[in-house]
């Protein structure tokens, strides 16, 4: 479905997404955001992510996970049990005319279902398959169990992160998984570029590798200078206290003044321009020798400052300082809202589109992160922000329509739908 009059750049692509999990779902979301037609295949009981919060108004339910709804806005859902022959046959029927199949299963079950790229190649020579797994399809860890924190650990991201006197911490948000989603989308686009020459091919994405490739080339640093990175607390580097995070009156601010002109500007902001002439702070070497003194001076100032005012005052002096906005402050950001960054999801997610708002369920929208990049108007129309998104589908909402359109026999469609209905009522009874 196109969201504007001019077709979006990926409008010609058709995707079937059989995956579960944040990483692959984010890849499919990117394609849908830029115009691709995405069919999500779910088990009759629904993608497990539907059961993961945060839930709209804290009410759990298969259509109330805001994470799921954001990731699947505008996609279609077909419910199929791929452990049954009719379910698997229906999926293969759906693959006609499809450009990309996204999956997140390990190799063995995929091969057992005949859904690996070599097995599909005869029937679908131009189909690109992308498999998003924790460790990739091959190698000694290929069957290992994983979570976001486990993968951050094995990608080298946990070891150097944390305070020196406490165990390291994984990142709070599931960053490596979303990063994997973007790498996957990139890999699929590369495969599409090569398709006229080589036909379809398999894209193998390992989250561990994506994380290791994202770790600012620490492995190369080790070979160049022999340093094993360790936890440096909230400072960017050990002992350089004018690079990092300091307490403010109402939170924390980020202070980065490694260059002399930046430090001079900071001292002026602090109302202590004379510190620029202080022997202790005049050269990079002396600043390291007197790092604790410098830290004391800076913190004595930041502690008294309102985070937001500090941020704007520093930026007015071209200092690359930051504050640490809460989620609320991000969604309320005057800058982001002026740019129309946030898209809007219908709050009645999963309801039929002709549902009338009632007193109990007023029609309203929920702001969600919007386009990660924009296309300027120029030779072609632009693609800018602040859009009303279609709702995410309820479980199997388009099963009948999609299978019928794919020429699945009416009797088979009816059988599959009956199976879906009974699985749903069993699920509801539990």
């Amino acid at each position: 479905m196109s969201l504007s009059d001019h077709p979006l750049p990926l409008h010609d692509l058709r995707i079937v997404d059989c995956s579960t999990g944040l990483a692959a779902a984010f890849a499919a979301k990117l394609f849908a955001q830029y115009g691709a037609d995405v069919i999500k295949i779910e088990p009759p009981t629904g993608d497990p992510m539907r059961q993961a919060g945060p839930f709209i108004d804290d009410e759990p339910g298969p259509n109330r996970s805001l994470l799921f709804n954001w990731l699947h806005a505008g996609q279609r859902s077909v419910a199929l049990d791929l452990d049954t022959d009719p379910g698997l046959a229906a999926l293969k029927q759906l693959l006609h005319g499809v450009d990309i199949l996204i999956d997140s299963d390990p190799l063995a079950p995929t091969q057992a279902r005949g859904l690996d790229q070599p097995a599909l190649e005869d029937q679908f020579p131009n189909l690109i398959t992308a498999t998003v797994t924790p460790f990739g399809l091959t190698g000694p860890y290929a069957g290992y169990e994983a979570t976001h924190a486990v993968l951050h650990a094995l990608g080298g991201w946990v070891h150097p992160m944390g305070e020196q006197d406490r165990p390291p911490v994984p990142s709070g948000p599931e960053l490596g998984l979303v990063m994997t989603g973007v790498f996957t989308a990139f890999g699929i686009m590369q495969a599409l570029r090569f398709r006229p020459q080589v036909g379809g091919q398999a894209v193998d994405v390992s989250t561990q590798e994506v994380i290791a490739a994202t770790m600012i080339y620490d492995t190369v640093s080790f070979q160049y200078i022999g340093l094993q990175r360790q936890r440096s607390g909230h400072a960017l580097f050990n002992n350089i206290h004018n690079l990092g995070l300091h307490p403010s009156r109402d939170g924390y601010v980020g202070v980065y003044a490694p260059l002399s002109w930046q430090l001079r500007n900071l001292f002026e902001m602090m109302g202590k321009p004379e510190l620029s002439d202080d022997e202790r702070f005049r050269t990079p070497e002396s600043r390291i020798a007197f790092a604790d003194d410098l830290q004391q001076e800076i913190v004595a100032f930041t502690e008294t400052q309102d985070s937001l005012e500090f941020y704007h005052a520093a930026q007015a002096r071209r200092l690359p300082f930051n504050f640490h906005p809460t989620a609320e402050q991000i969604f309320d950001s005057p800058h982001l809202n002026a740019r129309g960054y946030f898209d809007r999801l219908p709050a009645l997610a999963g309801q039929p589109t002709d549902a009338q708002p009632t007193d109990a369920q007023p029609a309203s929208t929920i702001p969600v992160p919007g386009l990660p990049f924009r296309l300027d108007p120029g030779p072609l129309p632009g693609l800018q922000g602040s859009r009303d998104l279609p709702a995410a589908p309820s479980i199997g909402e388009q099963t009948h329509a999609a299978l019928t359109a794919a020429d699945v026999a009416p009797a088979t469609v009816a059988e599959l739908i009956a199976g879906l209905t009974s699985a749903l009522s069993n699920g509801a009874a539990q």
Partner: protein, 423 residues
């Protein structure tokens, strides 16, 4: 359509912008990195007062040498009119133009996006300004670490009773860089589709300017926590080593290696994982407590569980403990140091570390791009170019400059190789 390799002109610096070109170069694009001798990529290091022409000190940073692999480096001073003209000659022969300066910089150089697209309507140009090219904070300055913070990520890292903790990788940069690479391929897909329809393969001007605000490309990475606010009206909070839904979930000490601490992550997603963990530990008496059968019970007893798990992990190597727990299907991951990652058996067997011979630094192992294509392997993993290394090659081969023209450009200072110190 799209049979010819892409040609990319890359004037960006640091990480996010150069990563766009690197990801394209890794899969066969010809990426021309344009720097001036006065203002070269700051990831090479700051100009040094004692630097001499050909000085090796700008060829030695692991970061620059990693993210500029397989590129060509051309030395052009864009602040000289003849330099700008030369760049435009290159753009006329290219598919993609990458820059990542604050939005005021390119117009000042005569390279405003609308001007570039007017001159080169076939071109896909991408800009990666920190905060975007509109809005009240468009002129604010940022980099990977501050973008990470402004995207709400840093505040959610660390212990609930401690200070926020930065990611160890300037997260806004790679988040923006890989998104930029996807964005470029997306715009090229659209361009080539329109050209194919046109039939001539080059008739319809379908170039694009992509505006990628690093902040806006990074915010979605934290969405699984940030969405708590619009969903519930509450702000998400730091959980330290623990997890909002899994228990136990923690980071536990193991045997140090060469006096450097080592740790292991252990996570139980559900009751099955807990049963497997009990089995892996030999079902000790403390774990048989019925209260621990449910996630709520385990969360209530998390401190005690942590003590027991730490006692089990402490005498073990983080690698051995991981293999033992994984043999029982427990999600466990050794917290690898950069040294450990280099020698990790799984990454090694998959060929993740690629040897590259650099003229100054010798042969080192560099990370693969993180995506594998079964029929289009990464074949061209060449070393990062030395400053200005390919100036002659590119100007002769692509722009057909004569020796006299090259000498004239050198005399004008357009392609100077001397390192000038800026006051």
């Amino acid at each position: 359509m799209s049979a010819a390799p892409l040609r990319v002109v890359d004037v960006s610096q640091g990480w996010a912008g150069p990563m766009v070109g690197y990801m394209l170069a890794a899969f066969g694009a010809e990426v021309i990195k344009v720097e001036s001798a006065r203002y070269f990529d700051w990831w090479r290091g700051s100009p040094h007062p004692d630097a001499a022409p050909g000085d090796n000190r700008y060829e030695m940073t692991p970061t620059h040498n990693s993210v500029n692999r397989s590129k060509l480096a051309v030395n052009i001073d864009l602040q000289i009119p003849e330099g700008l003209a030369l760049l435009n000659e290159l753009l006329a022969e290219s598919d993609v133009f990458v820059e990542n300066y604050p939005p005021r910089v390119m117009p000042r150089l005569g390279l405003a996006p609308e001007k570039v697209l007017a001159d080169h309507p076939h071109l896909v140009m991408i800009s990666l300004p920190a905060f975007g090219a509109s809005g009240p904070e468009m002129d604010y300055v940022g980099f990977g670490n501050t973008i990470e913070a402004m995207a709400g990520i840093t505040l959610l890292n660390g212990y609930p009773d401690g200070s926020p903790i930065q990611n160890p990788n300037a997260y806004g940069d790679p988040a923006s860089g890989i998104m930029g690479a996807f964005a470029v391929l997306t715009a090229l897909h659209e361009r080539d589709n329109l050209n194919a329809k046109d039939g001539s393969g080059g008739g319809q001007p379908a170039g694009r300017h992509i505006e990628l605000s690093e902040l806006e490309a990074t915010i979605p990475h934290a969405a699984n926590r940030l969405l708590e606010f619009p969903a519930t009206g509450r702000n998400p909070e730091r959980t330290g080593t623990r997890h909002p839904t899994m228990a136990p979930h923690g980071v536990y000490p193991c045997q140090p290696i060469d006096d450097i601490e080592r740790f292991i992550v252990i996570a139980c997603r559900d009751d099955d994982d807990w049963a497997n963990l009990r089995a892996a530990l030999g079902d000790p008496a403390w774990a048989q407590d019925d209260n621990l059968r449910t996630v709520d019970g385990r969360r209530a007893a998390h401190d005690a569980i942590d003590t027991h798990l730490a006692a089990w992990t402490a005498p073990r190597s983080h690698i051995d403990a991981m293999h033992h727990l994984q043999a029982h299907h427990v999600p466990a991951g050794a917290a690898l140091s950069n040294y450990d990652v280099l020698f990790d058996e799984h990454l090694t067997e998959r060929g993740f570390h690629i040897p590259v011979d650099h003229p100054v630094m010798g042969t080192s192992l560099y990370p693969a791009p993180g995506v594998r294509l079964s029929k289009s392997p990464v074949t061209a993993d060449r070393p990062a170019p030395l400053l200005g290394q390919h100036t002659e090659d590119v100007l002769q081969r692509i722009l057909h400059k004569t020796d006299q023209q090259l000498a004239d450009l050198e005399a004008l200072g357009v392609t100077t190789r001397a390192f000038l110190r800026e006051g």
